[in-house]
Symmetry: C2
Subunit: 341 residues, 2 copies
Amino acid sequence: MTYQTGEGRIKAIDSVLTAIRGKETAVLTTHTNSDGDGVGSEIALAAWLRAVGTEAFIVNPTPVPQSFQFLIPDESWVVDSTSAEAQELCDGADVAVVLDTGVIPRIGRVRRLIDGLPTVVIDHHPPGDRPIEGVSFRDASASATGELVFDVIHRAGGPWPEIGDLAMYVAILTDTGSFRFSNTTATSLRIVAELVSRGVSPDEVYRRIYGTVPRRRFHLLESSLALLEVDEEAGIAWMTVPADQYDALGAIPDDLEGMVDYPRSVEGVEVGLLFRQIPRKGIKVSFRSNGAVNVNALARRFGGGGHVRAAGALIEGPMDQVRHDVTHATREAVELSRSGH
Amino acid sequence: MTYQTGEGRIKAIDSVLTAIRGKETAVLTTHTNSDGDGVGSEIALAAWLRAVGTEAFIVNPTPVPQSFQFLIPDESWVVDSTSAEAQELCDGADVAVVLDTGVIPRIGRVRRLIDGLPTVVIDHHPPGDRPIEGVSFRDASASATGELVFDVIHRAGGPWPEIGDLAMYVAILTDTGSFRFSNTTATSLRIVAELVSRGVSPDEVYRRIYGTVPRRRFHLLESSLALLEVDEEAGIAWMTVPADQYDALGAIPDDLEGMVDYPRSVEGVEVGLLFRQIPRKGIKVSFRSNGAVNVNALARRFGGGGHVRAAGALIEGPMDQVRHDVTHATREAVELSRSGH
C-alpha cells in the first residue's frame, strides 16, 4: 500500500484505537436519516471490529435507508433502536461509537440508550453546538467520515474485510457526489484508489447506487422539466415538482435526490432552485450554488440553512407566492455577488 | 509524490522519451472527432514539450470540439491541418506524436502530412488493423491515454505545467465517465489524486465539462423522456429522440451525449437503447449494456460495432421497423445471457 495517513491525524486515531480495541461488545450509531457515509462508515467499522474479535452492532435512531441495505451483510448486525433488545444490548456494551455526527441532537433516541457508555466520535463535520463528549477523531478536512474510518483501520494495520472496503468506497462516493464536489481531495482519491486496488469495482458500485432508478422517477423528471424556468440575465434557474404528478406516480422523497442539479447545471446559471409542495407543511425549497453565491445565507433568510453551496428551507405559503419571493431574493443575491459583495 | 509508474511500462516510456527528447519541433495529432482524452493528452504533452524547450504544435484531422477549447492556452498551439502552414510545419518537424489512436485510418488527412517523419504512438486502445509504425507506448490496461502521458512526464521528472495537469485530469475524467466506467482503476485514481494534490479542482472541472448544459438540451430530454419505454420482464428500456423536436430546438449531436444513460439506468434493465433519426442516413441506435450482454456483438448484427458495453449502429429503414427489429434482437440477447450463454 502506498497510502500514508496524514501526520495530523495520528494522535486522534491512536486515542480512538485505545478506546475501542479489545472490547467485547461495541454499539455503533449515526445521525437520523442516515446516508451513504453514515451507513458505510458503520458497516466498515463494524466489519473491522468483528474481524478483530469485538461483537459490533448498529443501533440507529432511524432505519437504514432502502438504498443502502445492500451494505448490510447480515440482518443480525442491525438492531432496532425502539426494541427492548436495543436497550439490553446497550446496557451490556463496553463502548459506543458515534459516526458521521458529533452533536447530541442528531442521534435522536439513541442518546438515552448510550448515555452511560464510554463514547467515541468519528466525524468530518464542523464542530456544532452541544458536542458529544468522550474520545474523538474529528476532521472537517475529510471528504467523508468513511475516509476517517479508513485511516483508523489503516493505522491498525487491518484486517480489511471485503464488505468494509465496499462500504468505505460507498461512503466517499456518495459524500463527494461521485468525486465531483469541492470536498474531493487528493487524500480521498488516494483512499478510493487503495479500495479499488483491493477489489472494489467502481462501475458496479456506481450502478448499484445511481444506476437502478425506479421508472416513476423518469416520469417525475419529465413533468418537472416541463416546469423548468431560466432567467438567463439573472443567472438563475428553477424547477417545480408538480404535486399532482408526485402523488399520481406514488413518488417518495428519495425520488427527488439530485433533481436540483438539473436547474443548477443550465449554462450560465449561478444558483439553481427546486420547489416542491409538502402537504400540510409548506414548500420545500432546495438551493444550489455554483460557487459565487452563499446559499446558506440565502436559505437562512427563509428560516432554513445548510452549506455554502447546498442549502434548503421549508417555507409556508402558496406555491406562487413562495416561488416569487425566493426567486426575487435569489436574483438579488446573484446581483450582489456580481457587484463584488 | 507517492505515485509509482508500473514496472511494465518503463521500457516503452524510455523508448518514447529517447524519441521525443531534445527535438526542436514536434507535431502532435490524434484521431478524427477528438474527445477529452485525445485533446487532453495533446495539450498535456505539448505543454511539457514546450516547457523543456521543444516547439510543439497540434495538427488534428478534424477541429478541436468546442467543449474542449478551454484547454487550449494559446491559439498558436493549434494549426489547421488543411492549411499550407500545416504542410510547411510538418515538412520541417523532427518528430510526430500520435495520441489516443494507433491505427492509420483514424488520423485521416494528417497521415499524408506526417508521412516522412519519425513517429511515436501513445495510446490505450487495443491494437487494431493497420497500426502506425515507429516507437510506441501502447497499454490497453490504461483508463485513458492521458494516464500514459502522465507516466511519460512522471518518468521524465516533470516539469508539470498547470495547463497540462488540468488537461490530463480532463482526459481521465472524460474517458472514465467521471470515474464510474469499468476502466476506472487504482492506477487512474492514484494519478488523479496526484493531479488534485498539484492544484486541479475536481468541482470546477466537473462544472466546466458537465455543468454548463445548453437550455435546449433539457427540452430535448423532456420530450425524449416522454417516449421512454420499458420492458421490465425482458430487462430492456429504450428512448427515442423525437426528430421534430430535435429540429425545432436547433439541437446538435453533442446534445445527445449521455442520453442513452437514461434508459440504461432504469431499475432492472440489462440493455438501454437510444434511437435517433438522422436525415438521409437512417436511424442511429446507441446500445449500452450493464454487463451481462455483449452489445458489440448485438450492434454488429446491424452493421455497427464498438465495445462490449457501449456500441452503436446506423440502420436504414423507417423508425418503427428499426425499433421493432432492434428491440426484438435485444430481447433475444438478454434472454440468451440469462440462460447462461
